[in-house]
Subunit: 430 residues, 4 copies
Amino acid sequence: MSRGNTMLKEEKVFKDPVHRYIHVRDQLIWDLIGTKEFQRLRRVRQLGTTFLTFHGAEHTRFNHSLGVYEIMRRMIEVFKGRPHWNEEDRLLCLATALLHDIGHGPFSHSFEKVFDTDHESWTRAIIMGKTEVNAVLRRMGDEFPREVSEVIEKTHPNKLVVSMISSQIDADRMDYLQRDAFYTGVSYGHFDMERILRVMRPLDDQVVIKSTGMHAVEDYIMSRYQMYWQVYFHPVTRSAEVILNKILRRAKYLYLNGFTFKQFPMHLQPFFDGDISIADYLKLDEMIIFYYFQVWEEEQDEILADLCGRFLHRRLFQYVEFNQHFIMNEWAGLQERFKAIGVDPDYYLVIDFSSDLPYDFYRPGEEEERMPIHLLMNDRKLRELSRQSDVVEAISGKKRTDHKLYYPSDILHTPGQENEKREILEILSG
Amino acid sequence: MSRGNTMLKEEKVFKDPVHRYIHVRDQLIWDLIGTKEFQRLRRVRQLGTTFLTFHGAEHTRFNHSLGVYEIMRRMIEVFKGRPHWNEEDRLLCLATALLHDIGHGPFSHSFEKVFDTDHESWTRAIIMGKTEVNAVLRRMGDEFPREVSEVIEKTHPNKLVVSMISSQIDADRMDYLQRDAFYTGVSYGHFDMERILRVMRPLDDQVVIKSTGMHAVEDYIMSRYQMYWQVYFHPVTRSAEVILNKILRRAKYLYLNGFTFKQFPMHLQPFFDGDISIADYLKLDEMIIFYYFQVWEEEQDEILADLCGRFLHRRLFQYVEFNQHFIMNEWAGLQERFKAIGVDPDYYLVIDFSSDLPYDFYRPGEEEERMPIHLLMNDRKLRELSRQSDVVEAISGKKRTDHKLYYPSDILHTPGQENEKREILEILSG
Amino acid sequence: MSRGNTMLKEEKVFKDPVHRYIHVRDQLIWDLIGTKEFQRLRRVRQLGTTFLTFHGAEHTRFNHSLGVYEIMRRMIEVFKGRPHWNEEDRLLCLATALLHDIGHGPFSHSFEKVFDTDHESWTRAIIMGKTEVNAVLRRMGDEFPREVSEVIEKTHPNKLVVSMISSQIDADRMDYLQRDAFYTGVSYGHFDMERILRVMRPLDDQVVIKSTGMHAVEDYIMSRYQMYWQVYFHPVTRSAEVILNKILRRAKYLYLNGFTFKQFPMHLQPFFDGDISIADYLKLDEMIIFYYFQVWEEEQDEILADLCGRFLHRRLFQYVEFNQHFIMNEWAGLQERFKAIGVDPDYYLVIDFSSDLPYDFYRPGEEEERMPIHLLMNDRKLRELSRQSDVVEAISGKKRTDHKLYYPSDILHTPGQENEKREILEILSG
Amino acid sequence: MSRGNTMLKEEKVFKDPVHRYIHVRDQLIWDLIGTKEFQRLRRVRQLGTTFLTFHGAEHTRFNHSLGVYEIMRRMIEVFKGRPHWNEEDRLLCLATALLHDIGHGPFSHSFEKVFDTDHESWTRAIIMGKTEVNAVLRRMGDEFPREVSEVIEKTHPNKLVVSMISSQIDADRMDYLQRDAFYTGVSYGHFDMERILRVMRPLDDQVVIKSTGMHAVEDYIMSRYQMYWQVYFHPVTRSAEVILNKILRRAKYLYLNGFTFKQFPMHLQPFFDGDISIADYLKLDEMIIFYYFQVWEEEQDEILADLCGRFLHRRLFQYVEFNQHFIMNEWAGLQERFKAIGVDPDYYLVIDFSSDLPYDFYRPGEEEERMPIHLLMNDRKLRELSRQSDVVEAISGKKRTDHKLYYPSDILHTPGQENEKREILEILSG
């Protein structure tokens, strides 16, 4: 499997604030990093709109992808020479770790919702298509790109390799929790990765954890829990996401309804039309999006211009908790009242919900493909984590959901129709 | 002076990975942060092209400006109630700290060289002009914007306030050394700011350091020295800067010579024409620049397209040390040989030099406006730092300069004219 | 209340690796630190025998006491000027924080079990008795020592002040969790104390937490949980504790039975006799204990000499899990078998158990005096933490207990009576 | 060379706050750690009296010795497989690193001055003598203890191995700078060891540094410089050292002059007599010293009792700068005046000096055995560090010396003979 690879004459090193150093010894990896498609990840932020909440979170998917690669490299060093580990899989693992996010575009979450795209299928397309990444991978053999793609899609027959990059405790998650904590500056997100790596063991088709390392894994599960609610689902970030979503919807709507843009959004046309080539997709980065948002701020459509201004200058929506009571009794009335004061509720009154399941061993719902974490006991038997850990047992299967209603509070405090606005504010304040 | 300000009902806090928390209590500061012009700093990286060398360095001037503000706030807390400190100057200091970089555009260094602009005069223009920033500042009095501007320009009569934001040890430098070290991940750039702040004392027209804090200041001076040569003047960053500079020159040249761009660079036209309004200037952020670089990669001019591709995909120039020998003997010949193989030496053979003076007490040359650091001795006399510190004395006045010659090594390894290329490589390898 | 105190001419500062700096501005505090009794805490390790498990844990109660003082000082800075806070209580809080462990002797846990002493009553005795500490405190008024003592004993009528030093989230716990994590080097024990301090509010007779800070408190509760099981109840530490306990019991037994020590243990005689003066108690520090253990290693009593050698040279006991099965079926037989091979089971076969309740709101059992943590909601109502936090709710009231059986594994692998020893090993391995 | 060693069935790991984990895989190393003589290092503080200045500095030589071992282990991992490195030397290096401080007793510096002992000769004696350490080492061959001893003494013919443990940049120094910085809490002492280890190369008879790592080494040299003056030569630490020295001198004087101690100092008798066996030496740890200081505080000799009280309760001497002027004009008069007020100047008026040479390439004076640091340039030539580094050149060969005069300021403020005391204070204040 390593015939297409040579070792670099001298190891290359990247200085990384999270893992200190990222070490590259394989020509294959070095060349993948140098491809256009991988360099493009420098123009896509890791956490989308989160930088509007945590100003430190300006890091990109390039930054994260190198980190996942480095964790995978260290995991393989631990596995080297152990039973169940096949050193032939090394480059497959490393390439997969590096490329697992190659299909991400700018603000993937919103784009996928509005344009019905899917970063996973783009990952496959970039790896299998006529790209620099594909050309480099093919040096390892004609089947190699497909193998990389299958590992990322979790359809590869080698389940051990799949679990190293996607499971409840994998190289991807271990990097992003630490990295996002580092850049946002929150005090959560820390766990003892060095220890977790040292107690990981390959075993048949999964990575298991020596039982002596259980507490480090508990700590990791708790970090993950805190990061979701403190960072990833932060209500201010969700407000920015709501606005972004509405901008894209409005632009698409205008395009489909024959609106004449002052500056035609040529980079977005394929997305509006639903007919996107790999080249189209690769051209779209955050720089392009921000370019259009800036020019759109001066478009004649008031909704588009207003929303773009809000996003660029961080004039976000306010929110209130949204519950059964609202849904039953107030929702229709609120929409009517928005219309009455001349504000389109389709764009300015938005329900958003987040939900998370920090750890689950029976796998229903959105975590479906993730195996539970197994501890390797002293007697060589496996034991599912929540059977052994009081803390994990306590939160296992506990799904938490949160609904919020977003709206532009500033508009409700401008002169004119004060009575109507006061009524709206009263409804919103419950 | 504080009549135009009110205190916030509740303190606002930003989570910051460098200073942990940034505290805002003044309505004035909160409103300045919310202005368009300040939010725009989110779209200008703090270290320009450095992210191509240190992938962690993706932080923006927004990030840094908040940090400088926070250091200033802490400095004022130390000064509060001390002789020589006038609490009336508090908001002037805070506003200045926050806005000191408001005039920076994308990749300021290259822009200033190519378009003969000057971020300092833009700072003045934005503060004094018809902007949201100006409107907020004017609430403090009609003279307040001018005062802020003068402090930043170092022309304000209150030299103490000036020295808090620009001296050899000021809020600006203390933030960027720590912040850039944090994001690049280098181990330099650390010093004990908490201690330095505790030993700072206002004294007439300058900030002095209690002599017991001398070692913390030595450490700071050494950090600064290391950061300059390890990060700011890193040869790979300079390579990216060289290419960026040449892109801008080429685009300007083409524009001035009537080249027809597929997509007309409307955002840059004012810069090409040398007639830039505040509105023009504020529209230009890194997003816009990257947009044009991406579309220019497909322009018909080969030089422009090639250089843009190099910048976007990080295919940078190589370098060799460049010394007297080269200048005297090889320079002209090398240029000729480049032309002979069809490579324009004006764009592909570039001399770059960096130079730094880590500390100076007699102030000639580029550090001219910076006061020396004075220690406040036990006998209440002042003593210039290098008279007291062996280490600082040792490096004081030692200017270090470094010349490098940048060129595209890849072009010299392509087929065709191999003999000529080999000769060039021999000259370059000395 | 502050009449007996003056402010220091210049603030004194201690460099502290956990809190960076410890600031002292009150003459009272400075003088308390300078007393014999407080300096003596430099000779009592914070974590007793833990240094035999985690070699970094060599820090003393002096180190910790300064830390608790510093946290209290910062808490008071947050409370200053708020309703429910009486600035008159400042020095009472600070003195209490500094002195809360003044009654601790060497290896308190074992000493208290063997000699039936009680560090809390010694704390009172030292504060109220004829000591330097008492003399310094009395400068604040004749009643001041009693007040300090009552706060530490939790009998003081000012419940707010009591809760600042002893509750489920107090200055004491916040220091030791962070400090012990720092010195042991474990990755647990971190939480965002800066944030917790910022969201603490005095309210009638307790300190409550603004609900926005709930997640920081969750993180603290989880840190505490991890520290208990990973550090404080570490089985190797418990092994050292078992041996220490047996040494003290053996020495007492020998003394009471007229054994002639080569070097008479004059420092311990009052403890053996059960008649201890303050002066006797204050003389006993870890240095003295180690001195006797070294000379006892050469005593003629084999058990005493052997156990002292084990403790000094870290030749600890092994352990196995100890459960119902053992208790019912094997315990008596195992003791018999130990006797049969000439090993006294009273000293060499020891059951030890640990148990913890990480958070509890209904307060039965050993946490009885600790109030639950209350969140201050936006509507100004209080809500007990576990009603609001899923994670805390999950572990609330979950008491965990662990029994282990300790024995000298080395003795069971020496020549002679191999069959008997093999049988013992078989029983022990379950 | 490795015949006497086996690998452990499972790697043993120590949690270390400085290096995170210390890894032991060799039975030899594991057994050395378990010897009495090595465990004894737990009872000798790494920084002697420094804990009286920096309360965090309570760590022991046990702690440091494990750290030096771990750095050596990592250095060997970098060297593995490189030219000039002989894998046969691995265990020699590891054992040496672990044992290099085995001959240290309590407060070595003072002991060596007063009793004319020498920790280096005791190191040899312990390694070569009838000790557990020797027995473990001899399993590797009869010559192995001698080899270990010679490496520590720098007389071993393998200069490469010698330079790994003692040179201007060795495993010993790299550990103690970082470790002492960590425990004291100072912000100096940090450098990028990971990078330094990566650029170290074995070359003939020395370890050289790849020139690309020069800046990391500069940073290390500056750290060392700061640690010496900020921590190791701290004037308060020197005050404690002065008192300690005088206690030992007084006790020796009393013993030699037939003083009857209430409790005879049997552990110190061999030192007083100048006839010390290995067993005598090994018994003497800090616990024993503190025991005697406590009992001596109640001896009848006033000087001994007073000095012991000062040391135990940290009632240290004050100091003034001491210069030529003093020596010429005031010294004799000051001594007389001390006698006149009944204070023995031999014990209460003490000159102490410290001096350091941070880096030297021509090696005169106290750094005589240390090789300069050589950089390995791109052309494979060696270049001495200060020729390449401006900063190091600047401080190279700059010896700094500091004289202080210590005295008990408290005695000069007691009632009685006020005029005489005032005169003394005037002389001291210059």
